[in-house]
């Protein structure tokens, strides 16, 4: 076991993937000499050279389009998008090319591309630097979407994403880049749980609280606070947003009968909506209350001084827990 920050774990994952397979090449703005704006690729240029750690011109569609061409040539490109809000210029290349070429050619062209996106808010960043665009990609057939929440998962999932023959959108919660955790650097990838598997982070019996990315930390805080209040929350980290591991989710819901889903992204047609719809289809008869969402508001990501009113926090999660438990809450009014 080695204690690493989430950022360092990602760097270690890239290094290991590049050592394992010389077809793995990295592309992105500032990833070479600078080591990336978050330093995730720090040191990789020195070890692997400029042919495999490719500094690019500042053009996101160009970067992803180049990755498509490299994939045609048999490479496994790993793209770094500098910030979440900068992925939109590459949207066409991702949804119309990366996602579709395997289907169009019935598997004759593979797109084993990993698109890393430093993601979501909570760091007081400038405009376009705190977006949560995951629903766009979850809605796109042909892509896999992964969101990590801790260093161990980051290290393992990134290597799995790179090794996958499918394209993977890989969300890295930048709020957690400096969070530390134990990572098993030497553990064989073959022994790891599959990339799409959800994880019960904290077992509980009263309510299933589903989150992913940085919201997992908030969910765990909520679980601790709820315990003080005599309520047992089961926290599930989805880890994969496409596919979602509904077997694990449903097993938890059948146990608790109550569900809250939390994410930073805005609400309408979001991941939580999809998860709740699927839960309702699968285990309606087990539900004791209508499942609830706690999400960002349907507003453009607000300026930094206001983001704390946008991001779901401990209290908003607990309020939703109270609502599914039919305890006094923001709808019914707090008991005096």
């Amino acid at each position: 076991m080695t204690e690493l920050t989430l950022g360092k774990a990602l760097g270690a994952g890239l290094r290991q993937a590049m050592r394992d397979d010389d077809k793995v090449v990295l592309l992105g703005e500032d990833i070479g000499r600078l080591g990336g704006v978050f330093r995730i690729t720090d040191g990789l240029l020195d070890e692997f050279g400029a042919a495999r750690v490719i500094d690019t011109p500042l053009a996101e569609s160009g970067i992803v389009g180049m990755a498509v061409g490299l994939a045609f040539r048999g490479y496994r490109p790993v793209v770094e998008i500098q910030f979440d809000g900068f992925v939109y210029p590459a949207f066409d290349q991702i949804v119309a090319q990366v996602a579709k070429l395997h289907y169009r050619t019935q598997g004759r062209v593979k797109m084993p591309i990993t698109i890393r996106i430093p993601w979501a808010g909570g760091i007081g960043a400038a405009e376009h630097h705190s977006e949560s665009p995951e629903a766009y990609f979850v809605h796109t057939a042909g892509l896999r979407v992964v969101a990590v929440s801790n260093p161990a998962d980051a290290y393992r999932s990134l290597r799995q994403a790179i090794a996958s023959d499918d394209p993977v959108i890989f969300f890295e919660p930048k709020r957690l880049y400096h969070h530390k955790g134990d990572v098993e650097l030497e553990a064989p990838l073959a022994d790891a749980p599959p990339m799409g598997l959800a994880r019960v982070v904290r077992p509980g019996t009263d309510v299933t609280l589903i989150a992913y990315g940085a919201m997992v930390s908030t969910a765990l805080e909520a679980a601790e606070a709820a315990e003080d209040d005599g309520v047992s929350l089961e926290v599930i980290d989805l880890r994969s947003l496409s596919p979602v591991d509904y077997d694990s989710v449903a097993a938890s819901v059948r146990k608790t009968g109550r569900v809250v889903v939390a994410h930073e992204a805005s609400r309408e047609a979001g991941v939580a909506a999809e998860v709740i719809a699927s839960i309702t289809e699968r285990c309606f008869e087990y539900l004791e209350a209508a499942p609830l969402r706690v999400t960002g508001h349907d507003v453009p990501y607000p300026p930094a001084k206001l983001e704390k009113y946008h991001l779901p926090d401990l209290d908003r999660l607990l309020d939703a827990v109270d609502r599914v438990l039919d305890r006094p809450n923001s709808l019914t009014g707090v008991e005096a």
Binding site: A51, I54, T56, P57, A59, S61, G62, V64, G65, M66, A67, V68, G69, L70, A71, F72, R73, G74, Y75, P77, P89, D92, Q93, A96, Q97, K100, L101, H102, Y103, R104, T105, Q106, G107, R108, V109, K110, P112, A141, G142, R144, S164, D165, D166, G196, S242, P243, V244, D245, Y246, D247
Partner: protein
């Protein structure tokens, strides 16, 4: 001399500003820049180019006919662009890899497409018409200009491996307005990638004339990216062959990307869903009929006594045979079973999609139970 760069008067029509080897009447004119690249081309090879163009025109006509008869959902005609497509594609080496747009019927023909390959996508049977690995041609691209970046990425891979392959991408004049095409030129230049850009300036992006998109000859843009370019008469198959050999030599010998603008004309509609009468002047079409690429080479060969009626008839018969095989392949296609709609989305199992497939299979099975 003024350092200012100024647009020329008529970017679209002034063919005197493009490279030529065959004049519109078929006579050969000296071209100091290009002649050396086609010095080896003899009468037999010229006849082969002529035959290719005649077959391509016949394939194209059959495509239009099949669409009109309801056998294809859509067809994108290339009539008038035979010299550009055949001339450039016949310069390719087997190991080169092509990233085409949807109109490059002649390019996939020259790369060895099978009769069904021309229609499979347009008929709606599969997302792509041919096997990319066999032809070394990427699937036809409908998103305008997206494929140019793929060619540059592929070429970057070639460069890393230091082989003598070249990536080639085809696109239209309309595509040069796209960000992707400009980004592709920047990236190609940044990495000195062995890639050749072939812009088929066919004058119309559906109803928008090239003059709306370009206030400067399109080939003139490439040097601004650090990429050498040639503006070539796209209805002169010899000039297209020569220009492409120049561009491929340049890229193959490690000198980086090269760019060709072939000035040609789309005689028919943009696609079979388009009506060019709404936006295009009949007189313009007529003036381009007089520059027909096939007639030009035919006139050249006849004047040299290298093409007789018997050979012409034989070529036409060969073209009819290809069209017949294409029609048979089209009408003989068997649509895959319903569950095939799920095939090939992912390379590895995806539990969400697998469940949808199971649900749909169960639903379909209810009809079998009824029967």
């Amino acid at each position: 001399m003024s350092p200012q760069i100024t647009p020329i008067a008529d970017t679209a029509q002034d063919l005197e500003l493009s490279e030529r080897i065959l004049a519109p009447d078929g006579s050969r004119i000296p071209n100091p820049r290009l002649d050396a690249f086609v010095a080896d081309v003899d009468a037999a090879q010229l006849r082969a180019l002529h035959r290719d163009m005649v077959i391509l025109r016949r394939i194209d006509a059959e495509g239009v006919a099949l669409q009109r008869q309801g056998q294809l959902g859509l067809w994108a005609p290339c009539q008038g662009q035979e010299a550009t497509q055949i001339g450039t594609a016949r310069a390719l080496a087997p190991q080169d890899y092509v990233f085409p747009s949807y109109r490059e019927t002649g390019v996939i023909y020259a790369r060895g497409a099978q009769p069904g390959d021309y229609v499979r996508m347009w008929r709606g049977e599969e997302g792509a018409g041919h096997d990319p690995a066999t032809l070394r041609v990427a699937p036809l691209q409908i998103i305008i200009g997206a494929q140019t970046l793929h060619a540059v990425g592929y070429a970057l891979g070639i460069r890393h491996e230091a082989t003598d392959e070249v990536a080639v991408t085809y696109f239209g004049d309309g595509a040069t307005s796209q960000g992707d095409v400009n980004e592709a030129m920047i990236f190609a230049s940044s990495y000195q990638a062995p890639v050749v850009f072939v812009c088929q300036n066919n004058h119309w992006a559906i109803s928008e004339p090239v003059s709306l998109q370009s206030q400067y000859p399109i080939a003139g843009r490439a040097p601004g990216f650090g990429i050498p370019s040639l503006r070539v008469d796209g209805n002169d198959v010899l000039a297209c062959l020569a220009a492409m050999r120049w561009a491929l030599d340049h890229a193959r010998s490690g000198k980086g990307p090269a760019y060709i603008e072939a000035v040609t004309y789309r005689m028919g509609p943009h696609t079979t869903a388009d009506d060019p009468k709404r936006y295009r002047d009949e007189a313009e079409l007529e003036s381009w009929r007089r520059r027909d690429p096939i007639e030009r080479l035919e006139a050249h060969l006849r004047a040299a006594g290298q093409l007789d009626e018997h050979q012409l008839a034989e070529t036409q018969a060969a073209a009819d045979d290809v069209a017949k095989a294409m029609r048979a392949a089209c009408l003989g296609m068997v649509t895959r079973p319903p569950l095939a709609v799920f095939d090939g989305v992912y390379a590895e199992p995806h539990t969400g999609l697998d469940r949808q497939r199971e649900d749909y299979a169960a639903y379909l099975a209810t009809f079998e139970a009824e029967a």
